[in-house]
């Protein structure tokens, strides 16, 4: 099982590397003037000629990372609340939850790496790795970095589950709620897209759904504990 997970992680990494390489070759083809009409269209749509190209990439990666992390958190609440148990195999839903976390981490890493090379708000390696030292909105950037570390910690527990107790696994997993709200506030107050109305609606909607699922999960937890206490 452990070997299978490692193979899956390596496969995913390979797919991402191949995807990024293909994208880079495509970019080079466009810039080298081999652009045919569909390539030109793609180039214009993605603003490949723009000086802000990497700024768009990091913002899109950040938004996608947030959305996937939101979905993973939501899925985690649903798995924990046994919402899918009546019609989906538990192993299946658990696997999906884990895969969402990995994808989310991939996009967050892309978001951070591109910030190193883009020119609009360039950050150093120290500013990306150490919380609260960034020149750009240090507090909210720091919150985002802490949320990222918490997400890494929670994701790692998927792979060391057999080595730790179930209680430790659950306690560490509770941190993902803190990480989710950290990422939300980081996105809201450090993200330059927070000014766009559709992004505000997206944050509002995702927060409402999360709060609803979280309340349901807390209620079920409280109910189970009450039943145990009575028994």
């Amino acid at each position: 099982m452990q070997n299978e997970k490692i193979i899956n992680a390596l496969t995913l990494t390979a797919v991402l590397v191949v995807g990024v390489t293909a994208m880079a070759i495509g970019l080079l083809a466009v810039q080298a003037g081999f652009a045919t009409s569909p390539l030109r269209l793609a180039s214009d749509s993605l603003s490949l000629d723009s000086v802000h190209l990497w700024w768009y990439v990091t913002r899109a990666a950040g938004l996608m990372g947030y959305l996937l992390f939101w979905l993973s958190t939501l899925w985690g609440f649903a798995v924990s609340s046994k919402i899918f148990d009546s019609f989906l195999e538990r192993m299946f839903t658990y696997d999906f939850h884990e895969h969402l976390s990995l994808l989310s981490l991939g996009f967050i890493v892309l978001h951070a790496l591109v910030l190193l090379v883009e020119k609009v708000e360039p950050l150093s390696v120290m500013e990306i790795l150490v919380p609260f030292v960034s020149a750009y909105r240090p507090f909210w950037t720091g919150i985002g970095i802490i949320a990222f570390y918490l997400t890494v910690l929670v994701t790692v527990t998927f792979y060391i589950r057999s080595w730790i107790s179930m209680k430790t696994f659950r306690v560490i997993h509770y941190l993902s709620v803190v990480a989710y709200f950290g990422s939300l506030f980081h996105s809201l107050y450090a993200g330059s897209d927070s000014l766009l109305s559709w992004v505000q609606w997206m944050y509002g909607g995702t927060t409402l759904v999360t709060v609803f699922f979280m309340m349901y999960w807390v209620f079920l937890l409280w109910q189970r504990r009450s039943e145990k206490a009575i028994a």
Binding site: Y56, R59, A60, M64, L67, F92, F96, H99, D193, L195
Partner: protein, 91 residues
């Protein structure tokens, strides 16, 4: 691994990448339209300026040509009659 699990993983990965590219296009377009800039911590929406008419466009429209302010330069008479006050006495 179950084939359905593989398919599900493939599907969610593909959807995420499509979502990422879609978001990239959307952000690039939205940024061009809204043209938001920052002054310190405050966001300022830049006003949209009307396009400046081309010289050719003005020349083609006689009404526009009449509105064009002509720039003339006339040398003032005081400058023409200017004579430096310093003179050498000569030897």
């Amino acid at each position: 691994m179950n084939i359905y699990r593989k398919l599900l993983r493939g599907w969610i990965t593909l959807t995420s990448i499509i979502g990422f590219v879609g978001g990239w296009v959307f952000i690039a377009r939205a940024t061009e339209i809204e043209t938001v800039t920052y002054v310190g911590q405050t966001a300022v929406t830049m006003p949209e300026l009307e396009p400046i008419p081309t010289v050719n466009g003005l020349a083609g429209n006689p009404l526009s040509v009449s509105n064009v302010q002509t720039f003339t330069f006339s040398q003032s008479t005081s400058q023409q009659s200017f004579s430096p006050p310093m003179r050498t006495g000569g030897s």
